[in-house]
Amino acid sequence: MSAGTGTTSAGFGVLWVAIKREPWIFAVSTVGSVLFGALTVADAWVLGWSTDHVVIPAFRDGEIGAGLLWAVLGLFVGVAILRAVGIVARRLGAGVMQYRMQAHSRRAVTRQYLRLPMAWHQKHPTGELLSNANADVEAAWGPIAPLPMAVGTVAMMVIAVVQMLVTDLALAAVGLLVFPLVIVVNIVYQRLAQGWATRAQELRAELSEIAHESFDGALVVKTLGREPEETRRFRAKAEELREANIRVGRIRAAFDPALAALPSLAVLVVLVVGVHRVVSGATVAGDVVTVSYLLTVVAFPIRSIGWLLGDFPRSVVGYRRVAAVLAATGAMEYGDRPLPTRAGGARLEVDGAAFGYVAGRPLLREVSFDVAPARTVALVGATASGKSTLVGLLARLVDVDAGAIRIDGIDLREVHRGGLAETLAVVPQTAFLFDDTVRGNVTLGRRVGATDTTDDEVWAALRTAQADGFVAALPAGLDTRLGERGTSLSGGQRQRLALARALVRRPRLLVLDDATSAVDPEVEARILAGLGAEDTTLVVVAYRKATIGLADEVLYLVDGRIADRGPHDELVARNADYARLVNAYETEHENDVVEVAP
């Protein structure tokens, strides 16, 4: 059980972090909980007192003072109201403390995400980072919910035990036996049930994965008539989930009545022992009633201690994952130089640039080229030749390992934070849309001086990106919400919006990383024509010949090096590999002609 003990102390460690961070709210909720616990015990005492001083005398003597009746009323109602106050303080306090801790962690984690460099992001899967900020944060602070209740219960138990000890030692012994028993049984229950509940949760995710995949592939399933096989696949997982759920149910079915029966049986023992002691004159009827009632009311809250401890394993894991993100170091250093703000395209110099994520495995080596203002350069190369890596270097998502990249003669590393984005804009192949309006997605809150980007500027950018047509047709035009919970757009439409996002900033250097791959070729032609009319310096990663043809110079990348460079026509003429790469359409066509004979 050493692992279990370790988890328990680590769990208390996590809670201690929360208590230190939010001591006042913890105090309020704990006081509320202790109040509740004390008053629950007081309730039993009121009942016992009423039995001895009011009920039994009243029935014995046939009369009772009105004052005593008022006292009974006042005591019961007063205790009940105070207890309600305790409940509200406990539950609300626990909630507030939990939400505040979640908010603290989420703020800290997302700040890290924004601070840490791209290289760090690329080493961590998206799903993992998302769950660090959501599921892990929630798991870490999960035990805060039952914490005040558990603290209050401990207080209540102590009070109850003391009161039982004061009332009657022999009766108290019964209580002392049954309370720990309830705690132990409940912990066993939690551990058993949690294993299966976790399994059921995993199966739920797997089932959802199957459904998602199967519906995504609905066209394949339908056109190949594979519905029965798909249903069989889904059913197998659904049945596994069913069995896991039934297993959880069995455990619960067994433990819930057992936990309820323990205090009930204890009450019966108290009654038997109590009557014997009343006969021997060792105790009075009221005390027997008090102890019985205490057992009944205290037994249920005791389970909260089990809930608390049961939450610990998840909490500790979640907390450690969050802590790992917060402990990550490294950030991009910025200089303090501005880039020139003059009109016209920027000059780009790439000077002996080298880069690799892993030492000894360079993705780019000795890459050098210049792009004069308002010129266009195309980066061409097979998959994994280093094109996108070079784009990342230009946007300074990562820094060169050797060499330098300069814009208008200034090394990117000397530029102040945010300075590069004023001059350069990158459009990636997969367009990321924010959960925002079309306008917000294009402007990204950009301001020119003291004024926001105007709608005219937005429309102008949309026009150049050939996105004005479909945006105008959206239900609310520029105000249409996009993103996960908004209108969904096609891949080509998303790419065009991402392009407009870049264009609205009037960048002096525009980098397109295969940014129009999902756009209809005819539409792409119009976009490229529009771009050609501007005096922006342009770096494009491209496959399509129409795009490549637009460039003044082509850089042909092979295995992270510039293998050849020059105008497209010259390269085609002198470099067989290059020609083969870009002329694949023609090659394919010639094959067609040869083999088309019936």
């Binding site: 039994i56 019961f76 309600a84 509200v88 190949l224 049986l265 010949k545």
Partner: protein, 610 residues
């Protein structure tokens, strides 16, 4: 990326799933049970056990009453022997009722989970039977949640809220019966103290539902805000919008916190009311009980033990009141989830399958005829009008036209993903609607733009084309279409895992798998929706060769997006605004100046610099 045939924009509402919103609560339950008969199997025995289990709740109060009245204050003084026997009998009762509780809960779990698993599978199957249009219109996530979280909600309610509900009702019923047996006046007092709370449950529940509705919406906002610096890391960094992003996240975090706190406040307050009622009830019972005992009112006798027993019985009301709002909320969610699942089953399934009465197609290349075919989406304008087309067996046809011309619709009609509004589509002279579904799918295969791959091995993926194809058969098929060396070059051959949606392979390789799958299916009519996305040019060549071999000896109809495809076809069919405007070999059509085909050709040449 979508893996579907292009859906024309402005898809009308008619094609949506039934939401089930118009089904009443009882109707939902009735129909839900009809879909999952397991839910009510042996329900009588389960309820009997539930009643027996509830009896367990009153054993202790009765034991206390008996002990006080007879054991402690009996006429002959305290009576230990009686108390011991009483305790033993009570212990037996507790053990028996605990067992009943176990059996009841286990049975409930089992029947609920069995019933809902059946419902899940039915709904899943039905989603696949829905018309393509409905499948495409609905968001993927919405369809998935119908067979996952919506069903889970029903299950959660049945085994948690529903269980508590049954136990609570039983508990209060038994408590009331015992109370009335002791003293109907005191029972009335207790009910009067609790009635206002029961009556206000709905009010609190509505408040809570609204508060938690806000929380759920805020969770959505929060999740998407938090995803921005992760999923959009490159954009956030390259556009230097860290400050703005952080601001959006902070706002979302704060709003979520406020909404959660508010909801928690409501919960805490409504939860606390049960205890107050219990306090008042206890005081009321004692005072009225003493009055009754003294014969002030109605002159009826009551004992001290009975009055005290009430204090124990009153606690049985507190739990149900405290859990009441939660149960109502769970119930509402469950009914809503159930409705949505039933909504799926209510949505009419796909085109009618003639079943065993249907005709089958002889093996061998198929001849195709469109006979006055028109098509329009429900409530939309005509997509195709009066299409007449004959494709002799073995011919290779390319259908070209601008986006929105209706060319994809031809592929959908040909593969019977939809039926024409007017006219007939005939294969080997048989109307598509008269061909048995199974036979049709064996003879006609569609290769969509992006051949969707499942997260499994390559072999498992191509077996969608032919179930139980052996490894040798797969290799043979690969060799036939010139992919033998490619397959051999993969690290683990046919056992290579393709990853989620085939992401372990490149776009071009995914297309190769789709072609191999089609080759294994060995159709007599091949319908291809040509891919538009750019592929590594070297792979492009390989794909072209594989396509070529795949089409050989078969009738093929390709929805073409490339000039080379049209040029290579025997016949080009030009579709413009829903009509066939040109039809003939490429060489012939390209010479007809100022025609749609000439224009398409000119634009292609401009694009690819020929």
């Amino acid at each position: 990326m979508s893996t579907t045939l292009n859906t024309e924009p402005g898809t009308p509402e008619h094609t949506r799933l039934a939401t089930g919103e118009d089904i009443g609560a009882w109707e939902t339950i009735r129909r839900g049970i009809r879909h999952s008969p397991e839910l009510v199997e042996g329900v009588g025995w389960t309820l009997t056990l539930a009643v027996l289990a509830s009896v367990g709740q009153v054993v202790v109060p009765i034991a206390v009453q008996q002990t006080v009245d007879k054991g402690l204050r009996g006429s002959g003084g305290p009576d230990p022997t009686f108390t011991t026997w009483l305790a033993l009998a009570s212990a037996v009762a507790i053990v028996v009722t605990s067992w009943a509780s176990y059996a009841m809960t286990a049975r409930l779990f089992s029947s609920a989970e069995r019933g809902l698993a059946t419902l899940r599978v039915k709904a899943f199957r039905h989603v696949h039977d829905l018309p393509l249009l409905t499948q495409n219109t609905e968001r993927r996530g919405a369809l998935v949640s119908r067979v996952t979280s919506d069903v889970d909600q029903v299950s959660q309610f049945l085994v948690f809220g529903g269980l508590i509900f049954v136990v609570s009702i039983g508990q209060m019923l038994i408590a009331t019966v015992v109370m009335v047996f002791y003293s109907w006046q005191l029972a009335l007092v207790v009910w009067i103290c609790f009635a206002p709370l029961f009556l206000s449950l709905r009010y609190f529940q509505r408040k809570l539902a609204a508060a938690y509705g806000t929380v759920r919406r805020q969770v959505g906002v929060l999740l998407s805000a938090v995803s921005e610096p992760v999923v959009g890391a490159a954009v956030v960094k390259s556009y230097a919008i860290e400050a703005r992003t952080q601001e959006r996240i902070d706002t979302a975090i704060d709003t979520h916190k406020t909404a959660s706190t508010r909801a928690q406040g409501f919960t805490a307050f409504s939860f606390s009311l049960g205890g107050i009622s219990a306090g008042i009830a206890n005081a009321g019972v004692l005072i009225v009980g003493i009055w009754l005992g003294q014969g002030f009112a109605w002159g009826e006798g009551i004992t001290a033990g009975e009055v005290l027993a009430f204090a124990f019985l009153v606690t049985l009301f507190v739990g149900p009141v405290q859990m009441g709002t939660q149960i109502l909320t769970d119930a509402q969610n469950a009914i809503a989830g159930w409705r949505r699942v039933i909504g799926i089953l209510d949505t009419p399934a796909d085109l009618l399958d003639p079943g065993p009465d249907g005709q089958s197609l002889p093996k061998g290349a198929i001849d195709v005829r469109f006979d006055g075919v028109s098509f329009a989406y429900p409530g939309g304008p005509a997509v195709l009008s009066d299409i007449d087309l004959e494709i002799p067996a073995g011919q290779r046809v390319a259908v070209v036209g601008e986006t929105g011309s209706g060319k994809s619709t031809i592929a959908k009609l040909l593969t019977r993903l939809m039926d024409p509004g007017r006219g007939r589509v005939l294969l080997d002279g048989i109307d598509l609607r008269e061909i048995a579904e199974g036979a049709l799918r064996r003879s006609v295969v569609l290769v969509p733009q992006e051949g969707f791959l499942f997260d499994d091995t390559l072999a498992a993926n191509v077996r969608y084309g032919r179930l139980g194809a052996t490894e040798a058969e797969i290799s043979e098929a690969a060799r036939t279409i010139g992919l033998g060396d490619w397959l051999a070059g993969l690290p683990e051959g046919v056992e290579t895992r393709v990853g989620q949606r085939g992401e372990a392979l490149s776009t071009g390789e995914r297309q190769l798998v789709a072609l191999l799958r089609a080759q294994l299916a060995d159709p007599d009519l091949l319908v291809l929706d040509e891919a538009t996305s750019a592929v590594d040019p070297e792979l492009e060549t390989r794909i072209g060769r594989a396509l070529e071999r795949l089409m050989s000896g078969r009738t093929s109809v390709t929805i073409a997006h490339r000039l080379s495809t049209a040029e290579a076809a025997d016949v080009v069919v030009v579709v413009d605004r829903g009509r066939i405007v040109q039809h003939g070999p490429h060489d012939e059509l390209v010479r007809q100046a100022d025609t749609p085909y000439a224009r398409l050709h000119a634009s292609w040449v401009a694009q690819h610099g020929r």
